[in-house]
Symmetry: C2
Subunit: 252 residues, 2 copies
């Protein structure tokens, strides 16, 4: 965390999205203080959600608290897969909506927007039953946009021909909480989690996405979020340079 | 092929879907004659498509010819991924529709229905740009249903909350050409191709699918189509017994 914050300052990056695990490891208050002293704004915290787990209510309240301490305006929700042994995906999706509803007052009090992230359908059984932006917006619809928005992540949504209309809808409803860019590359690795490419390495129309969120009125930060074992094996400063360059060339 | 046909007869199975590679290896005329003598009907031939390849026109005419020789009423189309280096998925999908249109007269003459198969979105870049039943039906719409239908494959479509409405639409439009059952299991293997489960091993609401195609007026065969290295390593007769049992228990 210290290296990340120093590296961002060094590279002239003044905003960063963080993950709870790394924040907890370094210390929540310590992370918040270090980022603040460095003039680094925390754009979002990943991740709440996993509503298929028994402790989802308390765990998500903790995640909201953490986002508030970090000054992150957005908590990304990865909704979780099917409950163990269940085949009821409709029921699981409905439960996600109900669960988020129960968190809305707490999120509003904390000033943290909950951002439902649709994940690629290849994660529907084990990681996130919300698979499309349309589903995320339908789940968000009963609640005020200050409390519940959605994440537009190019990696998860690029294959969907409905996504352009849904981005426009998300903008009109004030629900684009977060915009994340990563590229789609194949072959996918075993387990399919760590298979993303830097912008430009794959086949996603990244600039079309950025122009679509722009046109929908989004003026928040762009997060580049790339999971890949080979990338992670490289030195941090080198990753940051490569990421900034890929962003400039293919997204900005 | 000889083992397969003998095994089906032995097990009391009177219909089978075949793949072009295995048919070619054994011999087209020889396969057709052996199946006919055994009283085994060929339900479908996999696969035409791959419209991103330069030879798609001639190759698909050959595939139609082969289906006709086998007496298969349906040729399954796996449409192919993006052309090398391309990011234009809209263009690739439009090309699929145009290409199918060029094959329609030939398919009608041969009495073979072309069946557009939507593949899971995880295959969108490298195997099939058609990802949803809605897309498949939109691509089929300009052509007569005797020439162009769609495949309903549970493995590819189970995550899609729109699939129930689209199955009803497919039935109303007379376009359910083929119904295939396989289950979704995780973790996915590297490359994600050989990761399917037998019916009942995973989380797909298989009987709900079968009831949905029934309700949509489909009265054709049900194909169980499972790709998994572990399953394929077992003896053929054992696979057939396990498949029939899984079908009876979870689909029929």
């Amino acid at each position: 965390m210290a290296d990340l914050i120093a590296g961002c300052v060094e590279a002239g990056v003044d905003k960063v999205g963080l993950w709870r695990e790394q924040v907890a490891e370094f210390g929540l208050e310590k992370t918040a203080a270090l980022a603040k002293d460095a003039g680094l704004a925390v754009t979002s915290l990943c991740r709440g959600g996993f509503f298929n787990k028994p402790d989802w209510y308390d765990e998500n309240r903790r995640a909201i608290d953490e986002a508030a301490v970090l000054g992150a305006p957005v908590l990304v929700l990865v909704s979780g897969g099917l409950p163990e042994g269940s085949r009821d995906i409709d029921g699981a999706r409905a439960h996600v909506g109900d669960a988020i509803g129960q968190l809305v007052p707490y999120a509003l009090d904390a000033g943290v927007q909950l951002a439902i992230e649709p994940l690629h359908p290849m994660f529907a059984s084990d990681r996130c039953v919300v698979s499309t932006l349309s589903q995320a917006l339908d789940l968000a619809a009963p609640y005020p946009s200050a409390a519940v928005g959605a994440v537009v992540d190019t990696y998860h949504l690029w294959w969907d021909d409905q996504v352009w209309a849904q981005i426009a809808r998300a903008g009109a409803e004030g629900r684009i909480a977060c915009f994340q860019a990563a590229d789609w590359i194949t072959p996918l690795p075993e387990g399919v989690l760590l298979g993303r490419g830097l912008p430009g390495e794959g086949c996603v129309e990244l600039r079309r996405f950025r122009e679509a969120v722009d046109a929908a009125g989004y003026d928040g930060p762009v997060e580049v979020e790339v999971f890949h074992a080979d990338l992670w094996a490289r030195p941090g400063a080198e990753i940051l340079t490569a990421t900034m360059s890929a962003y400039e060339q293919h997204v900005a």
